[in-house]
């Protein structure tokens, strides 16, 4: 195994083009475990931690462009106001040590159905910016996850950044695990209310082969809120609507039984988390705590 240590992004893309099998490494949360346990021996390891331009985030049109090297710790410290859902999810990642090195781009690269960043990225219509020596490709997050630990990246592509619109309404995240830290989710749920477009984002992890949006639940809730005029009146939600939303989220899941939980438990937990996060988010909305992009 050879260790490639490009100093610039162009060098990294050239290395990936020359060695499409090269495994990118940044925070090492997943990659080093595989190497330590001899689960993988890539011919080339491509270290991205020397490339300074990856560690920036900045506004990019109507979205925030988060460089692939921005750690969870920095995302929590610097972007919690603008991306509350993603920041909440980031706080549940591993431990302080893990968050000090781990990145959202790493979550995307691994594409584990249990990655904590996926539900908020799906709920907030993120876009993955993939680069290669051939050019730049913007991949909508809904098209990014293609299977268990598989994603839409071409062999010569690297993730340069993820583009996420700043919250235009309340966002929530909920995750179930055996303890409060250092835990892979049994299942997780992210919710984003979008009052500027009268739409809803709802997505879950660890309850299907890929992270997934609950599109029927999203459409149902958006229609209910629009038809009842609640986006404007901010009136209390009908409990039947909350229940139906939870049921539709659970219906979207296709979980399995595994060591972390049963399929039945995951389905039930999702309906509970969907109801709870909706009530929390709606309470925020009623208090007019709408976070707008400044």
């Amino acid at each position: 195994m050879e260790f490639l240590r490009p100093a610039t992004w162009d060098d990294a893309l050239a290395a990936k083009a020359e060695h499409p099998g090269a495994l990118p490494i940044s925070g090492g949360t997943d990659v080093m475990v595989e190497i330590n346990f001899d689960a993988t021996r890539p011919d080339y390891l491509l270290d991205l931690t020397r490339i300074d331009e990856l560690t920036d985030w900045s506004p990019d049109g109507e979205r925030l462009r988060i460089g692939a090297g921005v750690t969870y710790t920095r995302l929590i410290a610097e972007l919690a106001d603008q991306l509350p859902g993603l920041a909440m999810a980031s706080r549940t990642v591993g431990s302080p040590q893990i968050r000090n090195r781990g990145t959202v781009a790493g979550n995307l690269g691994s594409a584990s159905p249990a990655g904590d960043a996926h539900p908020p990225l799906l709920a907030d219509d993120a876009v993955v910016e993939a680069h290669s020596t051939r050019g730049v490709r913007h991949i909508p997050i809904t098209e990014f996850y293609t299977g268990v630990k598989r994603n839409a990246l071409e062999p010569d592509e690297l993730i340069a950044a993820v583009l996420v619109p700043p919250a235009d309404g309340p966002q929530q995240f909920s995750k179930i695990g055996t303890r409060n830290a250092m835990v892979i989710s049994v299942t997780a749920f992210g919710l984003a209310l979008h009052p500027s477009t009268n739409t809803v984002g709802a997505a879950f992890g660890s309850a299907a082969p890929t992270p997934r949006r609950a599109t029927d639940a999203e459409a149902f809730l958006a229609a209910e809120l629009t038809e009842s005029g609640r986006w404007d009146t901010r009136a209390e939600l009908d409990p039947a609507v909350v229940s139906r939303f939870g049921a539709l989220v659970a219906e979207a899941a296709s979980p399995i039984d595994d060591v972390r939980g049963t399929a039945d438990y995951r389905t039930h937990a999702l309906s509970v988390m969907a109801r709870r996060t909706l009530v929390w988010a709606w309470t925020d909305y009623r208090r007019n705590r709408v976070r707008t992009c400044a």
């Binding site: 090492g28 330590n36 591993g94 431990s95 302080p96 893990i98």
Partner: protein
């Protein structure tokens, strides 16, 4: 591979860059303070500073540490004297089997650098990535509070 460890420039041969920084520290540089337990970032026993940030050394590829600045538990105290955090762990009886202690010392050292008077929830959050399987957490929390107090007193004495 060249890097700085505990303030000393190090040059080590025969490092396989895909091996972990933890392995390089323990097996190539003779610094066994950082402990090797889970090798998957779960236990925090291998916590070291990398360019001033606490990380799990088992999740850093040795090649990623090249030209970087590493501080291990061996670098906290001096030759003659323990660091106040180390002394507090001894005094509070926070060391049982001792395996988790090096990682907890580095994590506590970092916490008190950032937050000299941490609240209990802040301590718990800061140490959430460090497992003690003797389950001596109460004494460990005592030690962190003691270390905060002695550090504050030492500072007040200097002023």
């Amino acid at each position: 591979m060249k890097c700085t460890v505990n303030g000393q420039p190090q040059e080590i041969d025969d490092v396989w860059e895909g091996e972990s920084l933890l392995y390089a520290l323990r097996e190539r540089m003779g610094l066994p303070g950082s402990k090797n337990a889970c090798e998957q970032g779960e236990c925090g026993s291998c916590t070291v500073y990398l360019d001033g940030t606490p990380v799990c050394a088992c999740l850093v590829a040795a090649g990623q540490a090249a030209d970087r600045d590493v501080v291990t538990v061996e670098g906290l105290g001096g030759e003659e004297e323990l660091h106040p955090v180390q002394q507090a762990f001894l005094d509070a009886g926070a060391v049982q089997c001792g395996f988790c202690t090096p990682g907890l010392l580095v994590a506590t050292h970092d916490l008190l650098e950032r937050e000299p008077q941490p609240s209990d929830p802040e301590i718990r959050e800061a140490l959430a990535g460090n497992l003690c399987r003797c389950t001596g957490y109460e004494k460990i929390l005592d030690a962190v509070r003691q270390a905060a107090t002695t550090t504050a007193q030492a500072k007040a004495g200097q002023e």
